[in-house]
Symmetry: C2
Subunit: 128 residues, 2 copies
């Protein structure tokens, strides 16, 4: 598929896709006329990129992950290790998010009294 179709299907701008290609986040080969040609894989891959990005991973990190995937010896064991590693990163983020959530949940619960300065009562105890 060419860049226009990928743009529509991924919801990313053409410029963004070209930028991603330049930074190694997505691959393409070129038609004889010089047009980029993307595989069908590009669509879910870009969706993954967006999700990971929204969750606070930089494009560099995501690109590194993609490169590792591509370069990994194609053995189940090696790939399992790779994914386990990423899993740990995601789990760490989830834990952070959980503690943030907890802090908020405490406040949202049945009318807890609040001091004149909400911050004091909210974050004065255990720092998040």
């Amino acid at each position: 598929m060419r860049i226009g179709e990928l743009s529509e299907r991924s919801g990313l701008s053409r410029d963004a896709i070209r930028f991603y290609e330049k930074t190694g986040l997505v691959e393409s080969h070129r038609s004889p006329n010089g047009y980029r040609e993307f595989g069908a894989d590009a669509v879910p891959w870009l969706a993954y990129v967006r999700t990971a990005q929204r969750l606070g991973f930089s494009l560099a990190e995501i690109a590194a992950h993609g490169a590792e995937l591509r370069e990994a010896p194609d053995s189940a064991a090696a790939l399992s290790a790779l994914f386990a590693e990423k899993l740990a990163v995601v789990d760490a983020k989830m834990a952070e998010l959980a503690s943030l959530r907890e802090e908020l949940a405490e406040r949202a619960g049945a009318g807890c009294p609040l001091s004149p300065d909400p911050l004091r009562s909210t974050f004065g105890g255990r720092p998040i």
Copy 2:
């Protein structure tokens, strides 16, 4: 406390703190000599800011949340609503992260067969 101490205690640079103050992320009053004076609350608040930031919230969003907290009518009901709202945002992020995690966990599990192109097998089915 002055900016140097807050910098040490929060792990943020003086410049970053001054920048945060300029954008309304943290408040201070001034000593007669013009020095910024921060309350003890600033330390846990800045820790919260950093955590939220790492999790993909922009400084503008965090500042808005802080402002809402400060401006909220000091009634338990209003604040509960405020926190419940933030809670929903955090929960949405957790859900995204969970689906990312699931995708990774599937791969990391006992040797699942992989096609020549790992991406196809990883993301070819349901886009994340």
